[in-house]
């Protein structure tokens, strides 16, 4: 059967290799940070460092952004991070926002789930766009920081030597080979990480046997953007099929192979086309379509034991592999980058001791285990690993139409931000009846931001920046002396910090940055009274929170920073 593949509707710019200034085959300039891997996570680390004014070299083996749609779902938490990195616009313009999904068993719809969405939110719960777009928008932002981010295209790592004070990389390019020295090495080089292999480290966990064929097609369809899951559909009996809409008429179809199907045979276009056609006929999509890309996927639930190995830090798929079901792969990698970038920047700038980077490993290994446990549940349902899981799944699906109570078992458990409730960084805090505890991310809420340019409507997450932020809650925006003194004390130590008053009513016009709770929902959401203080990290997680005596609160906040930074 002759099948005409169409190309993706995307042209990737090709870049040339470039050699830096060398002395005897060795780069003359030593670097503070070198990142290996020009994917979403590598760019997110480079951009995060740049926002703190820290330079990096980024090593990429290929000549352009990736081929293939790969990661296609970007979560709200990732969009918040991407906004802070200065790359949000492309994601919102190109990406398709969505809020829920439907699951079907044979001919019946058995689940309709929605992701958290309400009037407090700034960003959609999820947007779909292909990884080549994800990388392109991050690359565009990185090129706007060309003074701080030095991208080396067509450059392969051939060896890694690491020691107490850094690492030496041997690099190979079409223009010639060279070595470079770096104080810190970030391995963001993916599932088959060269750096991880070079250090002799192994991922540990489970590899699932269940295989999925992933097919991207071009199809003109007016269907809305929602995740569709079909269990044992008439079109592909005994199989499980996932459908995701992407921009530019690209559609992602994933279908499960039976255990006895041969993978090499299964991905031949002659075998794929009829199965896709059958699915589209069942869905009622009649427009002509063309295949673009076919590949095989196997779910993994694997992680390194720790992500810091001396001067080498692992992030993204180089550190952990999570199942696609629940979309925690790229999203957890971007969260790794957000956690790592500020900590690495502060260590490089001498604002914190190196042990701050151990907290990166502690927090993100914990997050990986959380993601894996949800991802595992989702995978056990999407690709049942034993006769028992398979049998129980059939029971759930066949009961779900009549019995609502079992439907939660079908839910894919989509990704959300992880709270580091046991983090070593968390400060001893006062007891609050509700609101985000130390380690949690800030819940979103609209508020009115006031600064020297005037007043504008915004959201809490607009106030997160490359610094520690103290939100001081009050009636009118006033800051008592011990609280205001935090700014002077921390300025003397050259620690990036801002005190942001959050008021119940519109504060008097001042040039300083502040905000007020125009909806009346902010204070209750944070269980805040006048006198409450929340100390927030550069990555938007709470470091500590206090209420009550003003002198004690100020002292606690300073102690919390000392404890976290061990400077």
């Amino acid at each position: 059967m002759s099948v005409e593949f169409k190309p993706y509707p995307f042209e990737a710019k090709q870049y040339a290799a470039r050699l830096p200034e060398l002395k005897g085959g060795h780069e003359a300039q030593r670097h503070a940070v070198t990142i290996v891997g020009g994917g979403p996570v590598g760019y997110a680390v480079a951009l995060g460092l740049a926002k703190h004014g820290v330079r990096s070299v980024l090593i990429e083996a290929d000549e352009s952004v990736c081929y293939g749609s790969r990661a296609i779902c970007i979560s709200r938490r990732s969009l918040e991070i991407i906004e802070r990195l200065g790359a949000l616009e492309g994601f919102l313009t190109k990406g398709l926002p969505w809020t829920g999904g439907r699951s079907f068993y044979r001919n019946d719809e058995v689940l309709h789930f929605t992701m958290p969405q309400d009037e407090n939110q700034k960003l959609p719960p999820m947007v779909n766009l292909a990884q080549y777009h994800i990388e392109q928008f991050l690359l565009d932002a990185a090129e706007r920081h060309a003074d701080l981010i030095d991208i080396r295209w067509r450059t392969k790592v051939t060896s890694v030597q690491h020691h107490a004070h850094g690492a030496t990389l041997a690099l190979s390019t079409p223009e010639g080979d060279y070595t470079l020295d770096t104080d810190w090495l970030v391995a963001a080089d993916g599932g088959r990480s060269t750096v991880r292999e070079a250090l002799g480290l192994k991922l540990e966990g489970t590899t699932y046997e269940g295989r999925y064929v992933i097919v991207d097609i071009l199809l003109d369809s007016a269907r809305p953007t929602e995740r569709l899951a079909y269990f044992d559909p008439a079109s592909n009996p005994g199989s499980t099929v996932l459908v995701h809409k992407q921009p530019d008429n690209v559609w992602r179809i994933d279908y499960q192979l039976r255990d006895d199907e041969d993978a090499d045979e299964a991905i031949k276009p002659g075998n794929v086309m009829p199965r896709v056609q059958s699915l589209l006929d069942m869905m009622g999509d009649k427009a002509p379509w063309s295949p673009v890309w076919i590949t095989i996927y196997k779910a993994n639930a694997l992680t390194l034991e720790r992500y810091r190995h001396g001067r080498v830090l692992f992030a993204g798929d180089a550190a952990h592999l999570v199942p696609i079901f629940g979309v925690r792969g790229a999203n957890s990698g971007i969260d790794d980058a957000d956690n790592l970038a500020w900590k690495l920047a502060w260590v490089v700038k001498g604002l914190a001791g190196e042990t701050l980077l151990d907290s990166y490993s502690d927090e993100r290994v914990y997050a990986a285990h959380e993601n894996l446990s949800y991802g595992t549940k989702s995978t056990e349902f999407m690709a049942p690993p034993s006769f028992a899981f398979d049998l129980m799944r059939t029971a759930v699906l066949s009961l779900a139409r009549q019995h609502a109570a079992v439907r939660s078992l079908i839910n894919p458990r989509q990704t959300s931000a992880i709270a580091y409730l046991a983090s070593p960084l968390n400060a001893a805090s006062d007891t609050f009846a509700s609101g985000p505890p130390p380690g949690a991310v800030l819940p979103e809420c609209p508020l009115t931001i006031v600064d020297r340019d005037g007043a504008r409507e915004g959201h809490v997450t607009d106030l997160v920046a490359p610094r520690f932020t103290a939100f001081y809650f009050s009636e009118d925006g006033a800051t008592p002396t011990p609280i205001a003194a935090l700014e002077t004390t921390l300025a003397e130590r050259a620690l990036p910090f801002a005190l942001v008053p959050l008021a119940q009513r519109r504060p008097a016009d001042t040039p300083r940055l502040s905000a007020w709770d125009h909806t009346g929902r902010l204070f209750p959401m944070y269980a805040a009274q006048p006198g409450t203080l929340y100390l927030v990290r550069p990555d938007g997680h709470v470091l500590g929170r206090w209420h009550g005596d003003v002198d004690a609160t100020a002292a606690h906040a300073l102690a919390a920073l000392d404890h976290a930074l061990r400077a």
Partner: protein, 63 residues
Amino acid sequence: MTDSELDSVYTHLCKTMTGLGEANGPLFLARFALLAIERIGDAQASLSLIDAAGENVSASVPQ
């Protein structure tokens, strides 16, 4: 019971059954059914559950 608790119970059921092997699956589930009936302690409720479980059951997956 929260969704999370239901998840844990469901997973434990699947893993226990996996460990016993496919041949023991039906007997394991039969025993669980009896234990559950006894625990529910309400004949009418159990009879309804039996009827609900028997509805729309189709044993084979169409090939």
